[in-house]
């Protein structure tokens, strides 16, 4: 109850602070600025109270709250219990609000020093306001009796909650969402600065204070994306680090925009050109965050995501559309109002200049972002165009982004070389010679030695190696001079390494499904010897299945995990990985076929009345009558061997019906099953018979049906573990590349922040 009131209070305080800041922007009234500041701080404190209240509810198991009941339970460990704070939709919006508030505190101080405070804070406050509005509409403090009015009595407190989805019960859940949402929150800052620049009619200086924030946003969001990929790869067992899923794409697109913005802003600093482009780009970083949120949170994508969010209701849907409309509107109207004043400086640089390479690089990133956005929105686009929702296949993303990757590889190399050697064309060619030579050699080597026969992929290898060589060459010289300036080179080196990792892990991965009988060694994937040694219980009724992996005399033990989850009412699986420096050996469990249970598991029992027809698989089966000839009756009376059967009429679709008669043979108390085959695949047995002497039509028979070939046909002598073994070559390049990129970003933040501070001291 109290929490809900605080949400409304925070909303009101935020509204007052926006009015204060805006009033100060309009009139310069110093009291209005004070009001803005005080109320913004009030908003932040109130949001902290809200978050603390929710955390308190979770930690003390207040299951009368719908949110707490829905996502947590008493058996969760403390870190996981804390992570239920953002396990649901309301919670993730609260986390986003919380980070927006915290970043706001620093932004207010920083923008104040740089003279942008009233403008930046009135825009940034509006973002905060809209997030709070989301929380007003979808109250995270609703009681269970409010969520189901009339069905749950007022004051009812469940003893335990529904618990956290086991898929999320993982240490990545503890850190990944925070990083991602602080990245989302940071993307609000470039938007706020761009609109502030238009409000202040200051089209050039805003990029200096804004740059460290954009790089910061790109770093944090990039970090979040990487963690998501690692989580998917390492524990969820999706087999890869990237699946072009809408949720993954929705964090990638704003990131591409932010990286593009970093590049065009560099050009504006140098030549003053691209003023309008930068304003639009900075806004797009945030608008794409909003659009992505809409795609993944409104239920509009429905079935096309692995993350599958179920429709949160019309309110959220329209509110998200309204919020996007509002921020597109603010940006659009400001650009329209200032359209004549924005200086148009024609880019003077030649086509062989660093500025032009930067512009092209940024354009390529935006193109990739557009392609990905179109793909992710495909269900909406096709709904509008053809009235039917359809989605693009993953291959769409690969075909559209790989060529752009080649261009990016080439440009990062050329751009860096041009930056260092901005002299005449002859010397440029001389500098280009070394990296081109190395790239050619590497590409040729991979075509000849590694059997790389895909032309486009070979080009990607060329581009990546060229970028790597060029950036190492330039980077080395920069580091020797002033390491602070090396951020760009480092990030590009990382990017090139990452590209090579993509090629290695995607092009050369090899997988095979193997059935491992306990204790028996099985060879697979050319040179790996796998032996399933048995399973042992680990925490929470989970089981680790130990498999010995032997390769060229070296031994490893992998222990993928499988367990039955009550929450999901299904089997959960976690893979296990051996990291071999040049490749990962990846073992994903599929199932465990237990000894002796093989036959029963595949047999299906069905009860028939006389004359009744039932469908089994593609067969239609009718119970005609018992097969109990007169002579058998006599035999039974005399105590000889007796055969009793049932006649079934089996019809396969499109074919003539066939009679099948499974039977049981009884002799001196022993019963032997005589199964009957329909064809070599379908086998019928009699489980039991209940003849009704009074009314023959009430007689029933229990028929066992088994499809041979599906499931094990003979009893297994020992447990059989079925796994998918795969080799992911050079996957370490992906991870190390990402880390190098992040290091590059951090070096850049430090440098740009120092530079912005220096500028401020001069000014």
């Amino acid at each position: 109850m109290l929490g809900g009131i605080f949400v409304k209070l925070a909303f009101l305080a935020c509204l007052v602070s926006i009015i204060g800041f805006f009033e100060n922007h309009r009139t310069g009234n110093a009291r209005a600025l004070r009001v803005g500041r005080i109320f913004f701080h009030t908003t932040v404190v109130t949001i902290l109270i809200i978050a603390a209240a929710q955390l308190y509810n979770i930690l003390t198991h207040q299951f009368q709250y719908t949110y707490v009941w829905s996502y947590s339970s008493r058996d969760l460990s403390l870190p996981l219990l804390i992570s239920t704070f953002y396990a649901g939709q309301e919670g993730s919006f609260m986390l986003w609000t919380l980070f927006t508030a915290l970043i706001g505190v620093f932004l207010m101080a920083d923008s104040s020093r740089k003279g942008y405070e009233p403008q930046v804070m009135s825009v940034y406050g509006t973002i905060q306001l809209m997030l709070l509005l989301m929380m007003v509409v979808k109250n995270p403090f609703a009681y269970v009796w409010e969520s189901w009015p009339g069905q749950v009595e007022v004051g009812f407190a469940p003893k335990d909650g529904r618990g956290l989805n086991p898929l999320l019960q993982n240490y990545w859940m503890v850190i990944h969402p925070q990083v991602l949402f602080s990245g989302f929150a940071a993307m609000g800052v470039p938007y706020a600065y761009a609109v502030a620049a238009l409000m202040k009619r200051d089209y050039n200086n805003w990029i200096r204070p804004a740059t460290p924030w954009i790089v910061y946003g790109a770093t944090v969001l990039g970090c979040g994306i990487m963690m998501g990929g690692f989580w998917a790869y390492e524990t969820l067992g999706w087999g890869g680090y990237w699946g072009w899923d809408p949720v993954e794409n929705s964090s990638l697109v704003p990131w591409l925009f932010s990286v593009g913005t970093i590049h065009t802003i560099l050009t504006q600093r140098k030549s003053g050109a691209f003023v309008r482009t930068n304003l639009v780009m900075a806004m797009m970083c945030f608008l794409m965050v909003l659009y992505s949120t809409f795609l993944t949170r409104s239920g509009v994508l429905g079935d096309t995501s692995v993350h599958s969010f179920v429709d949160p209701g019309m309110w959220v849907y329209w509110l998200l559309i309204g919020i996007i409309g509002l921020f597109v509107g603010i940006g659009g109207v400001m650009l329209f109002l200032r359209r004549k004043e924005i200086p148009k400086i024609p880019p003077k640089h030649s086509y062989v200049s660093r500025e032009f390479a930067l512009f092209l690089g940024s354009a390529t990133l935006v193109t990739a972002a557009v392609f990905i956005t179109v793909g992710t929105s495909s269900p909406i686009i096709t709904q509008i165009l053809q009235g039917k929702t359809t989605a693009v296949d993953i291959s769409y993303y690969v075909t559209t982004t790989v060529p752009l990757g080649i261009v990016i590889g080439m440009l990062t190399g050329i751009g860096q070389l041009l930056w260092w050697n901005r002299t005449d064309k002859a010397s440029i060619l001389k500098v280009l010679a070394i990296p081109i030579g190395i790239a050619l050699a590497a590409t040729l080597a991979s075509v000849l030695l590694l059997q790389l026969h895909d032309f486009v992929v070979a080009l990607l290898v060329f581009g990546a190696v060229f970028a790597l060589a060029a950036n190492l060459q330039v980077g080395w010289r920069i580091v020797k001079g002033n390491p602070k300036f090396a951020g760009g080179s480092i990030a590009h080196v990382g990017l090139a390494i990452m590209f090579l990792g993509f090629v290695g892990s995607a092009k050369y991965d090899d997988k095979q499904t193997v059935s491992l009988a306990q204790g028996e060694a099985v060879h697979c994937l050319g040179g790996y010897k796998l032996t399933y040694t048995g399973y042992k219980p680990i925490d929470h009724e989970k089981y680790a299945f130990e498999v010995n992996v032997e390769k060229e005399g070296r031994q490893y033990v992998v222990a993928p995990i499988m367990y039955y989850s009550k929450y999901n009412d299904g089997l959960m699986r976690n893979p296990d990985i051996v990291n071999l420096i040049t490749k990962d050996f990846y073992l994903a469990p599929l199932s465990l076929e237990q000894a002796g249970s093989g036959e029963d598991a595949a047999t299906k029992q069905l009860s028939f009345k006389k004359g009744e027809t039932k469908k089994i698989g593609e067969l239609e089966v009718m119970f005609v009558d018992f097969d109990f000839p007169v002579d058998q009756k006599a035999a039974m009376l005399e105590g000889r061997e007796v055969k009793i059967g049932a006649t079934l009429q089996v019809k396969q679709y499109g074919k003539k019906p066939v009679e099948v008669s499974p039977s049981k043979v009884m002799n001196q108390g022993q019963v032997i099953d005589k199964p009957a085959m329909f064809d070599e695949k379908h086998q019928f047995t009699i489980v039991s018979m209940k003849p009704d002497r009074e009314n023959k039509d009430n007689s029933t028979v229990e028929i066992g049906y088994k499809e041979l070939g599906a499931g094990s046909s003979k009893k297994a002598d020992s447990d059989v573990l079925v796994v998918e073994a795969s080799i992911k070559p050079y996957i370490n390049l992906v991870w190390s590349g990402v880390i190098v990129v992040l290091v590059g970003f951090i070096v850049t933040i430090v440098r740009r922040a120092q530079e912005a501070r220096l500028k401020e001291q001069v000014a």
């Binding site: 009941w69 469940p158 909650g161 898929l167 599958s308 989605a391 999901n568 959960m572 199932s591």
Partner: protein, 131 residues
Amino acid sequence: MKPKVIIAAVIVVAFIIFGSYSFLESNVEYTDVSGAMKTHKKVQLKGAWNKDRESAFDVKTSTFTFYLKDDNGQECKVVLDGAAPNNFEMATSVVAKGRYMPDQGYFHATEVLTKCPSKYEAQAEEVKKST
């Protein structure tokens, strides 16, 4: 018109064509059972898992077989490469990506996506049960 503008326009148009071509090429339609049977193209078959029918994982071929019932109540055997996805058992609806094999009489799926009930579909009954 400056040649610069023309070159830029050509590049933009080329990208649009390239993008739309890839889009149409890889567009996978949602369909029901009868729709899937009519085409040889890769489709997304939407429906629910029919729990009354048998479903099993086949060790030999490493495939998972189940029966999918679409919104019209029509049923189809689905053979998935690999094991049932993690959330399969609690999914309210599933989407099988793949194509129908008329000769074998089943839908051969390369991927099955699951849609799971979230708290928004949690029932009041369930809250009461938590006592």
